[in-house]
């Protein structure tokens, strides 16, 4: 068990500045997820922590010791790769035992730990098979097994589920979460899938262009994004961004859409916006902030909005409906039977307590 600390870590590939001065602390036993779009530097950062890449600046500390000059095998870490990285000429048993044999652990200990790991992952009956005889999910279990037998200080996962189909991915995600509860080792997990990030992480570290855009608990990032990028990256379907102009006067504030129409903001929001009169903003409304208006009185900060349903995408439990708001297409997530046909006029309620206002010039959330 160990904490991990990165201070001012840089990494270049030729002229490409892949990691730009990252400062990050992952506490002992924490499950941190590095997430971001392709090319944001998340895998590079993970590989730098593993020692597979040398940093071009900054310090990496694992368990209090600076490891910059240590080789991967000297860092006492275990890593799970995207393509499983199982040795095709070794059986499952030999694959799982590989790291222990490399470190010359006693045979009795190896047998005990392999058996424990196999039981934990439900692959005890596969030990004599070769990787080519396993399904994708089984291979990934073996890869995880190979990591956990090592009892390393730190587990690194490099997009371990991206080769699996959707159902298997859900299953393995649960498995990894359960695993972390059982073995409580510090874990750093890289993914581009925000659902994986939200569901697994104690803390999400959202990267963009080699820098940390924002980090925090999953719901904190989801509900209080600091930038439009964070707001747009997390959440499925994505947040709706509607261009508007702020109008403030006498403690009241409203967003006026460029195509006409306006929404009055709750007073708590309005207080934060004094002096912002006339500012262009993007109004970030999550699909979940829409609901079907029931006809009764609305809560404070919730406004009604009448719209025509365009595309309707039922998912079984929820129905995603495309509507027009402020002249742009927006997705509203409603209950399964809230809307039934294309062209249907529906009365919606929008929870303005939860919307975010983004300055389009700086990309920062202003309220």
């Amino acid at each position: 068990m160990a904490d991990v600390k990165l201070s001012g870590v840089h990494k270049y590939y030729g002229n490409v500045h892949a990691v730009r001065g990252v400062d990050l602390t992952v506490a002992d036993g924490e499950f941190a997820v590095l997430v971001g779009p392709s090319g944001c530097g998340k895998s590079t950062l993970l590989r730098t922590i593993a020692g597979l890449e040398d940093p071009d600046g900054g310090a990496i500390t694992i368990g209090g010791a600076v490891v910059n000059d240590l080789r991967p095998r000297e860092r006492n870490i275990a890593m799970v790769f995207q393509n499983y990285a199982l040795y095709p000429y070794l059986t499952v048993n030999e694959n799982i035992a590989f790291g222990l044999r490399a470190r010359k652990a006693p045979e009795i200990e190896i047998r005990k730990r392999v058996s424990e790991a196999a039981d934990m992952l439900g692959i005890g009956n596969l030990l004599q098979r070769y990787p080519r005889q396993l399904s994708g999910g089984q291979r990934q279990r073996v890869a995880i097994g190979r990591a956990i037998v090592r009892k390393a200080d730190l587990f690194l996962f490099d997009e371990p589920l991206s080769n699996l189909d959707a159902q298997l991915r859900d299953e393995m995600r649960t498995e990894i979460k359960r695993l972390h509860h059982e073995i409580t080792t510090t874990m750093i997990y890289v993914t581009h899938d925000q659902v994986e990030a939200m569901t697994l992480a104690d803390r999400i570290v959202l990267l963009r262009d080699g820098k940390i855009e924002q980090q925090g608990a999953p719901l904190e990032l989801f509900e209080q994004p600091r930038t439009g990028f964070v707001a747009g990256f997390l959440g499925s379907p994505s947040i709706n961004l509607v261009p508007a102009t702020l109008k403030t006067s006498g403690g009241c504030a409203a967003v006026v859409f460029q195509s006409g129409g306006a929404l009055t903001l709750p007073s708590a929001r309005a207080k934060l916006l004094t002096g912002a009169d006339g500012q262009e903003v993007l109004v970030g409304i999550r699909p979940q902030h829409f609901s079907r208006a029931g006809g009764g009185p609305l809560r404070d900060g919730v406004v009604s909005y009448s719209a025509v349903a365009d595309l309707i995408q039922p998912t079984g439990t929820r129905t995603f409906t495309t509507i027009k708001i402020g002249g742009v297409d927006a997705v509203a997530e409603l209950q399964a039977h809230d809307v039934s046909s294309h062209g249907e006029r529906i009365d919606l309620a929008i929870d303005l307590n939860r919307v975010v206002l983004i300055d389009p010039a700086s990309g920062l959330v202003i309220a």
Partner: protein
């Protein structure tokens, strides 16, 4: 009706194919058959008109002479020279190939430059090499031949092995580095098993090159380290050719290659990525 005719037509085509394959096989196997037959014939039978397809009785006198006169040592010389040079070329070449494939040693063009060395016509360099060998006293010794064959095989090994190594998923090596191996152990325990088929195939080709070489062996040896192809030329005389000895020596010279290829056959035909676990 037409459907009924199809199998007959297919059967005819198949029969023609087998016939064609049979003819081609006979054509290719006939020289080998004839070589073996001559090696078992007496001089009278060799020159018999019309030719005898099968000798009156199998006799080994041609082989006996080779062993009695010590000519068979040429096979041993060839084995030593070809075995040692291809072994050294494989070890050194694979390490060089690993360096090119994984560390980008020499940039993008070094690999091409190395293989271009293999394209030099041996005849163009054999006399300068002979003069250098005379100067250093390397003529007519094992070391000289092993050195030249290693030098000529290295570019081929590097080129081939680089291709095989590039195909090994990098994650396998990285996983092993994290699991506790050092770079040498990674090469030995991960890369070698993964490229085993390619390694075997390349070994066979380097061995065959050294085994079959005539030019360097002729120029760089005299009496001490005569290899099998050079020994064969001794049986072609101004007055007459010793066909029995030529055939027997050729059979002995073919056997090691035959054995090597038979043993390595499953590696030769198997692709290296067979069994590799990818996405």
């Amino acid at each position: 009706m037409r459907v009924g005719k199809l199998p007959a037509r297919k059967a005819r085509i198949l029969a023609l194919r087998y016939l064609g394959a049979g003819v081609v096989t006979l054509l290719f196997l006939f020289p080998v058959y004839w070589l073996f037959m001559i090696s078992f014939k007496t001089p009278d039978e060799i020159y018999h008109v019309p030719p005898l397809w099968i000798p009156g009785q199998i006799q080994f006198s041609n082989y006996y002479v080779l062993f009695k006169d010590g000519d068979v040592l040429a096979i041993l010389n060839s084995l030593i020279v070809a075995g040692a040079s291809s072994g050294i070329a494989i070890v050194l070449g694979t390490l060089c190939a690993y360096s090119l494939a994984r560390f980008g040693t020499g940039g993008e063009n070094l690999a091409m430059w190395i293989i271009s060395q293999r394209m030099i016509p041996p005849i163009a360099v054999v006399f300068p090499i002979f003069l250098i060998y005379v100067y250093f006293g390397l003529v007519d010794g094992y070391f000289g031949l092993i050195l030249i064959y290693t030098a000529f095989n290295l570019p081929y090994v590097i080129w081939m092995m680089r291709g095989y190594i590039v195909d090994v998923p990098l994650e396998l090596e990285e996983s092993a580095l994290v699991d506790g191996l050092n770079r040498w152990e990674v090469i030995w325990k991960i890369v070698f098993p993964m490229v085993r088929a390619g390694l075997m195939a390349t070994s066979v080709f380097t061995f065959v090159f050294a085994w079959n070489d005539f030019l360097f062996a002729l120029v760089l040896t005299r009496t001490e380290v005569i290899t099998f192809p050079v020994m064969l030329t001794h049986y072609f005389g101004g007055q007459s050719n010793f066909w029995g000895k030529i055939a027997a020596m050729s059979v002995l010279g073919t056997l090691p290659i035959f054995v090597a290829v038979s043993v390595m056959q499953r590696y030769l035909v198997r692709g290296i990525s067979l069994g590799a676990v990818k996405g």
